[in-house]
Amino acid sequence: MPLKTKEEYIQSLRNMKKRIFIFGEEIENYVDHPIIRPSINACAMTYDLAQQPEYEELLTTQSSLTGKKINRFTHLHQSTEDLVKKVKMQRLLGQKTGCCFQRCVGFDGLNAVDSVTFEMDRDLGTEYHKRFRAYLTYVQENDLVVDGAMTDPKGNRRLAPSQQADPDMFVRIIERREDGIIVRGSKVHQTGAVNSHEVLVMPTQTMREEDNDYAVCFAVPADAQGILYVYGRQSCDTRKMEEAEVDVGNKMFGGQEAVIIFNDVFIPNERVFMCGEYQYSGALVERFAGYHRQSYGGCKSGVGDVLIGAAQAIAKIQGLDGVSHIKEKLVEMIHLNETIYSCGIACSAEGKPTASGTYLIDLMLANICKLNVTRNPYEISRLAQDIAGGILVTLPSEKDFANPEIGPLLKKYLRGASQYTTEDRCRIQRLIENLTLGTGAVGYLTESMHGAGSPQAQKIMIGRLANLNYKEQIAKELAGIKDRD
């Protein structure tokens, strides 16, 4: 059976020798690095829950390629039920980790590449789909984490890739050989890249004919020669190096982003899924973005559940449970959270099959989902901070509570309701801080804003898909305006 345990996953990362830089230095043991390990734990949860009967219905499914039981993160959606289960799975993982668990980008990339390569082969007589399905079978059989690499640095945003002063501002083919291609460039904001087994590179935007060297899609082992990773900083990241138990807020789990640099990396043909066919780059971007915008309805509502629970907990600890304005704020947080979840479910329920048989979400509703996600977590966070009070950002450090002279005094004066300890209060306050200001806020807030495309990207899609002409027509009919056109 392909399913790995979380221990096997973590060991598999140890077996990969990647070149990773953090704080200006290349590190030897990334698996046990205190800043990196929480993100590995979060990704490992996708393996751990798959082994538990209470959760396996969401985390596992039967492969459409091999018939074997696989982790859902390696699955091609075969029905709207699959699409709905994906969102529920993501909500569950958000609840269990309180952060970005990183495996979704590759999952969404795999599904997008499947349908687009099918259509390329159908129209152009290429062999990309056959190669891709063989690659995906390998991913499923080995239960791998795939980093979905879309975003290029982009340089001057007003210029096309081929017009840039530096031609490497987008990943491109620099050499075509009989046995493969050589690529150069960089991908930024790469969620979970360091924790991945594979990197699936896709073009970041619709390419034109003159940009055909940039219309490239391929998969490469994450430790291939020529690949470098530079770990991204996060708010409050160095707290993880303080050996703190409480001050980190969410000690066990965290998200991760990195810059990936491809220094003339060789990709053999069997791992190349697009090589200059620029006419299909737009479809690949649109479908990947659609799936990924759907994802946010699941993962962020799960993290939202944690924040709502923390707000409820701090209200009780501080003696404010039952107060009407607190209850009203909690209800509003729930309303906003369930709104984004509803959008994730809606775009899934309205999905339909592509020509390859793989199901695609409803693009309009997926974009509505993500546009709500760019807003609602911010308001949920504001309400959580409102409920938590000012102590959220003035709380002394854990080391102060351990000091023999001032510790007892702090415990005395910072206690809330008497049935709770001061430590309970500190722990929940730090969790709220983590999610709204700290390392967790990277995933819950700014990633909600920009991940899977910034708000303007969703607005462009919504405007395109809205069928405004029909809406105008029905309004005119009701107003009794005869069409003079």
């Binding site: 082994q51 209470e54 396996e56 219905e57 039920e81 909500r91 569950l92």
Partner: protein, 90 residues
């Protein structure tokens, strides 16, 4: 090679996935394992974690002949569990 520390499931008991559980899934499982321990192997027992009852609605289940479909809250209440046990996550 390390194996998962989690106890293996009974093949004929299926949980919904618990993305929105009314009760802590680990606690529900302790009761389910007791109540349904003598269920015939050819009977599929569906444990829905909340009122949405996703598992019962699932298309994959429709063709199964012998099904017992329950809601986690109902079986815990019938088990007569106290409030403290009900809210105590495991």
């Amino acid at each position: 090679m390390k194996r998962s520390a989690h106890k293996g499931p009974r093949d004929n008991i299926k949980y919904c996935g618990n993305c929105n559980p009314d009760l802590h899934p680990k606690y529900v499982r302790t009761i389910v394992d007791t109540i349904f321990k003598d269920t015939e192997p050819d009977t599929l027992v569906l444990i829905n974690g909340c009122a949405r009852e996703c598992l019962t609605k699932s298309k994959a289940i429709q063709s199964v002949q012998k099904i017992i479909s329950v809601n986690a809250r109902e079986i815990v209440e019938k088990d007569g569990a106290s409030n403290n046990r009900r809210n105590n996550g495991l």
